[in-house]
Amino acid sequence: MGYTPDLMELIKKVDKTRPARVERKKAGIEFQALTLDERRDRLEKYHPDFRPDALRELRVGPSKGYALAQEFADAFESRSRVDPDSIHLEEVHYETDVLVIGGGGAGTAAALIAQELGAKVIIATKLRHGDANTMMAEGGMQAATKGWKDSPYYHYLDVMGGGHFENDPELVKTMVTEAPKAIGWLEQLGCMFNKRPDGKLFTLHGAGTCRKRMHYAGDMTGAEIMRTLRDETRNRIKDIGVLEFSPAVELLMDDNGMCSGAVLYNLETEEYFLVKAKAVVMATGGSGRLHVQKFMTTNHYGATGDGLVMGYRLGVGVRFLHATQYHPTGAVFPEQAEGLLITEKVRGAGANLVNIDGEQFVFEREPRDIESASIIRECTKVGKGVPVPGQPGKFGVWLDSPMIDLLEGEGTVEREFPAKYILFKRYEIDISKVPMLIYPTLHYQNGGLAYESDGSTVVPGFYAAGEVGGGVHGANRLMGNSLLDITVFGRLAGESAGKFARERGDVGKLSVDHVRKYHKELEEAGIDTDRVSPMVLPDYGNPEVRKRQWTTTYVGTLR
């Protein structure tokens, strides 16, 4: 393994320019940062969101006329996976007070709080409970918890600035004022945040913060939160049931116009079944696996934007979905690590980005979107990208990690970035000696379903929480605010859903008329398509194998 001979040859060019670059850095001479005007120009010319064919106006549904990425538009302008006429609405398989769709951080927090209000809860989730983007978050969780230097006031300003001041003020206020409580709740549940001996929580800066308020648990903060929440639901097994490998594909209404459950799909037996519920919390997370503009992604396998589609068909609009967050440094080599996040901290520690000739082409601490646009420019317009072996037409640039040891002393890379150091070591690449090949990668769905600060939406009985929702981060989320978002709004949505379920009388006659209506709208808009959504799982099958899948008719569940 390791780099191919061709790449090793190219790395020599990086080695050659490195001593001079290190010297400049030591002397405090940085690559020229872009001016605000240049930044705008770079974004408009090279950021994927600004490509002329990037966005397309929706022709149906509550946000008709809103332009967003083709992949999203395709998902919205699709038919249901099930024919509404074939659903037996009188045959209900599960009944519960609150149905939570999605067993990630937001969903699990909602389930716990709803249960505390006396609700019986079902969590329906696509893969295993906890197989979610929440599990993958490494960096940390923001909250203003240190009264001698910080407050929700400053947190508010930071969130707004990060989101280009377009965020929903009410949502932001709720998030920053609930933040310390969210951390306190996790602490109470036994989350092992890094602490000083006196109990004081460690906090770090994140990009765009004016105070150090990023709380963390080692370099696996999300995993620590996720597994703790999951563990707690297992203690409440009497009241919280978890249905794994059972993604929801459509929502149910009743004849009083209230959301009343969902149609689930058993991935293993390929049958559909119904859950009737007095309130539903949508918490299906992000959509990196839609591979907007064919970009690779840092997201987990089940991040296919299902909740957006289900909620949209129900009549809930979307916002800030036009802005996609690309992380500038995703691994492109070796293939096994493709899309994997290389943390911003590597650039923070001084590593340059350089092209095929070993030349610097951008200041390494520009904001995420500028950095991404510059890398794309270098690989396209400028034509100085490094070809990715075995993947014709694909390019990357070098992230010169060996500089870090030269700047900060031997062993720094290994000490500061243990997870990535070990990972690349497995592929026989020593990132303290050779650079990493990287390219921007799809990271976060900035927008989503419109919801209020109590998690409610325009449809009674239907709540949304977490990455599936949009508004709190505006057009650009800052690192560490998402783990916060899901804990705060997961809890609030759980509380609202629990209360709603308690006060709601019996569920009326079940209906999927909203799906029929949506199909009709598609037809009226002249959208004649055999596309179906939600996607549920991405298709990474081998096309050559597919050509030999000759089955004409499904017999039983045998393909």
Partner: protein
């Protein structure tokens, strides 16, 4: 021609058709059945290359969720190897199977009532006492966690040590699948971590202080001002906010204390 020979031939053919330009296909045996896959793939991607649509055994695809535990053996050796399918690169002629689920004992408990001692753990997981110190768990952990050590620490009542040692556990379940004493090590591990987080580590007092400050309503007015401020004012306040230096001491204080 024997079936094996034909399978091999089929492999060579696949190399020229599927691989277009790829001459690096190697045979692997998925649950005993031969497939020819590019030598650079992870086991997870090799499954997909072979034509599988993964449902079980695939979560984060990044080595942290523990969904893809895999066991394998190489020809000519009795040794059982383990790895995460999304992190392990195929080896020619490996015989492999995923273990996407393993039924380990999971106690139901009320965290508030737990104590950081061995008795508590033994009450919920009596099998803990049966550990025979064989070290199989440590040898089989894909995260290189000293599993037996955290189990013995737990048994000695060194809860915090068990918590720290087990911290990187991704709960893949391989240790439990191999344990002759039938322990579910990772469930015991998370119990020690939750006890540590809840009952051993001191509480963050500044956190409670801040919660009280917020509940006292002291930020309501300033926040309302921000929420209703026009764009220009907001931008100005944003640009002018005082920055805590990167190298500042923990107890650093800003000059402007009005909004704290």
């Amino acid at each position: 021609m024997s079936t094996a020979e034909q399978a091999e031939l089929r492999g060579a053919e696949a190399a020229s058709v599927e691989g277009a330009g790829r001459t690096d296909l190697v045979p692997i045996f998925i649950m005993g059945k031969r497939y020819n896959v590019p030598s650079t793939l992870t086991i997870q991607k090799a499954f997909e290359f072979a034509g599988y649509q993964l449902i079980r055994g695939c979560g984060c695809r990044g080595g942290i969720c523990g969904a893809c535990a895999t066991v394998y053996r190489m020809p000519g050796s009795a040794k059982i190897h383990v790895g995460l399918a999304c992190q392990t690169i195929v080896k020619p002629n490996m015989y492999l199977a995923m273990v996407p689920f393993f039924p380990a004992n999971r106690a139901v408990y009320d965290l508030e009532e737990l104590k950081p001692d061995a008795q508590t753990l033994l009450k919920y997981y009596p099998e803990l006492a049966k550990c025979m110190g064989c070290n199989t768990c440590t040898k089989s952990c894909p995260m290189d966690i000293p599993v037996m050590e955290y189990i013995s620490a737990a048994l000695r009542g060194e809860i915090e040590k068990a918590a720290d040692l087990s911290f990187p556990c991704v709960m893949c379940g391989i240790c439990a699948s191999r344990c002759p004493a039938e322990l579910g090590q990772y469930n015991i591990g998370i119990m020690t971590r939750r006890i540590t987080g809840r009952h051993v580590k001191p509480r963050a007092e500044h956190l409670q202080d801040m919660i009280q400050r917020i509940e006292s309503g002291r930020y309501e007015e300033p926040l309302k001002k921000l929420m209703t401020a026009d764009m220009e004012t907001l931008r100005k306040l944003y640009v002018e906010r005082e920055m805590e230096p990167h190298t500042a001491d923990e107890m650093w204080e800003p000059e402007i204390k009005q909004f704290l």
